[in-house]
């Protein structure tokens, strides 16, 4: 199979540091992966091409990069499936991390963030006489997160980190969940209150925009965003209600329970906090603009037909969950 691998190259050590695209046309096996093609280029065509790789079996997490604009492991991506128009495959370094050379990026910030969530068990209760006994179920649940191979694909495509490098990001937050969901971590009940308090702060769980990029990018099915959502619920359950995010979630839920649909007019002030004068004033010009353009949601929010059934479902599901 003949392919063209279009590589985004950059060498910050030379004078002209601007990234540029370089095309390599080569013959590869029909069942070759994108990594096979890149290795062939490096071995046979251009020894100056830099990339990281090791296991070639999606275990080591070294070869995460952007393939056709989206992060993934080069060793897990079949070249035949990635062919674009003209049999071209575009390969770029992972995003949201500085490029060292070509496809090699600097992971320092990635590891700093993982360290920031204190990735080790912190039991607070008295130590048990023997070993900690935990249910099979809880460990099986955790295996979904411990499957993370720290490849950085989620961080590469995170839309929040793109505009705000201070955000903890999907990898570190998924790692945090590995501990908040561990029954050995935190107090006697397994509630990691101190941890959740930190995660509840700015740049933590509430800053995720739920864009699903990390869920799509993760090669191991860790679904970092879903873990972040689970931690939001853990934080609210642990008593951390005083954030715009928590208020937003609770106001949203209340609106659907009361009327069946979303009462947007009430949602914004409730999210900001009804006594948050400064926050409310900040929205006044936008609200006024909406009003003058006839964009204001209806003042009288109508209930849907059969609202009693929606309310009953809320009650019944809530009871089951308890």
């Amino acid at each position: 199979m003949k392919v063209t691998i279009r590589v985004r190259r950059q060498d910050p050590e030379v004078e002209d540091t601007a990234p540029f695209w370089q095309d390599y046309s080569l013959e590869i096996e029909d069942n070759a992966t994108v990594l096979d093609a890149l290795i062939k280029i490096r071995e046979d065509m251009d020894g100056t091409l830099s990339l990281r790789c090791s296991c070639r079996s999606s275990i080591c997490g070294s070869c995460a990069m952007r393939i056709n604009g989206h992060a993934g492991l080069a060793c897990k991506t079949q070249a035949a499936a990635a062919l674009q128009e003209g049999d071209v495959i575009e390969v770029e370094p992972a995003g949201n991390m500085p490029v060292i050379k070509d496809l090699v990026v600097n992971f320092d910030l990635f590891w700093d963030k993982v360290m920031e969530v204190e990735p080790y068990l912190q039991p607070q209760g008295p130590e048990p006489e023997g070993e900690y006994v935990v249910s099979n179920e809880s460990m099986l649940h955790l295996s979904g997160v411990t499957a993370c191979i720290m490849c950085g694909a989620c961080v590469s495509d995170c839309t929040v980190m793109e505009v705000d490098p201070s955000f903890l990001g999907p990898a570190a937050l998924a790692k945090a969940y590995r501990f908040t969901a561990d029954p050995r971590d935190g107090d006697d009940e397994g509630v990691s209150k101190d941890r959740l308090e930190q995660l509840n702060a700015p740049s933590g769980i509430w800053d995720c925009t739920r864009c699903l990029e990390c869920v799509q990018a993760c090669p191991k099915g860790v679904a970092p965003m879903e873990r972040i959502m689970a931690m939001r619920d853990q934080a609210i359950t642990a008593g951390f209600h005083n954030t715009n995010g928590a208020r937003h979630t609770e106001a949203f839920s209340e609106s659907v329970e009361q009327s069946g649909t979303l009462d947007e007019l009430k949602l914004v002030p409730k999210s900001l906090g009804m006594t948050n004068i400064q926050g409310l004033l900040n929205y006044a010009p936008v609200a006024l603009q909406a009003l003058t353009h006839g964009k204001m949601p209806p003042l009288m929010h109508k209930k849907i037909e059969g609202i009693e059934h929606v309310r009953r479902i809320f009650e019944q599901v809530d009871e089951t969950e308890r």
């Binding site: 604009g69 705000d164 800053d207 739920r210 069946g260 936008v286 603009q289 209806p298 809320f314």
Partner: protein
């Protein structure tokens, strides 16, 4: 063609111009829509943060109603569509569906697992046919450069959205733009996040996303942006002036709801499509259009 119409909250709330525009073009297309008066909000991913089972049950209720009517569901919002697709994906599991159905029984409903909710964009491509749509275009948007903006939930996760079985979904918006006679302005932000979900949580980041995408499209020569998601529209249009101020530059990129762009190409006047309700002025865009009935 008949559909159970699920308009979603925002098309009648924060973006009241969307609902009438969608109804208008469906009428012209000859698509018969029956509004699902008793359906609840999908939960928009927010309710699911708190309780996924609850969110899935509410969506299963909507699916069961459509099954009872024996009609496929039409959505006009990327977020509604994505949340429904994700719920439906989980509800493929018969055991889970049985659990969810226990909450629906009291209302006499049961979800059998046959719903296949579709965004109007997908319906036009997969059920209606773009060639048939093309026949109704009386004012092709020649010379207009449109940047697509999908909304996260219409492009991810690809397994729940069944991209493998429906490869046209990958570039559905670009296909539509071309049929309308406009030129596609391809840009890297088209499948990224508009920032709306964190607007009240981290406004700075939310506006930075608006600024980034609208600026990029504008700088590539776009005359307007087109989106199938009213939540994206809220942020990209209503908050664009604020985003421009934060970015310290002019942007001024009109954002069209997908049905509005189709309506313009069908020759409907801007006033009927609610374009005057936009925050970013759409008049410069409208002056670019050829008058209805002019030779083309």
């Amino acid at each position: 063609m008949r559909y159970a119409f699920f308009p979603g909250c925002v098309s009648r709330g924060g973006c009241p111009e969307l609902y009438p525009a969608a109804v208008l073009i469906c009428k012209r297309l000859g698509i018969d829509i029956w509004e699902m008066q008793g359906a609840s909000c999908t939960g928009a991913g927010v309710l699911q943060e708190k309780n996924q089972l609850l969110g899935d049950t509410l969506n299963a209720r909507t699916f069961a109603m459509a099954e009872y009517w024996d009609l496929p569901i039409m959505t006009i919002c990327s977020t509604c569509q994505g949340v429904m697709s994700q719920a439906n994906f989980r509800l493929r599991d018969p055991e889970y569906r049985a659990q969810v159905n226990t909450y629906l029984a009291e209302e006499g409903l049961e979800y059998k697992g046959n719903a296949d909710p579709k965004h109007l964009l997908w319906i036009l491509i997969e059920d209606y046919g773009l060639d048939k749509l093309e026949e109704l275009i009386t004012r092709p948007l020649h010379g207009v450069r449109l940047a697509p903006f999908y909304g996260c939930y219409l492009v991810r996760p690809t397994d729940a959205l069944q991209f493998a079985d429906n490869p046209d979904r990958q570039d559905s918006l670009e296909k539509l733009i071309e049929i309308l006679g406009a030129t596609v302005v391809d840009f890297s932000g088209k499948t990224r996040c508009c920032g709306f979900p964190i607007l009240t949580i981290n406004e700075r980041n939310s506006l930075a996303m608006v600024g980034k995408h609208t600026s990029e499209a504008k700088d590539l020569g776009a005359d307007a942006m087109i989106t199938p998601c009213p939540l994206c529209h809220l942020n990209l249009d209503s908050f664009q002036p604020k985003a421009a101020a934060q970015a310290g530059r002019d942007i001024g990129l009109p954002i069209l709801h997908m049905p509005q762009a189709i309506g313009l190409a069908m020759g409907f006047p801007a006033s009927e499509l609610g374009l005057r309700r936009h925050i970013v002025n759409t008049r410069p865009l409208l002056t670019q259009l050829t008058p209805v009935g002019a030779a083309h």
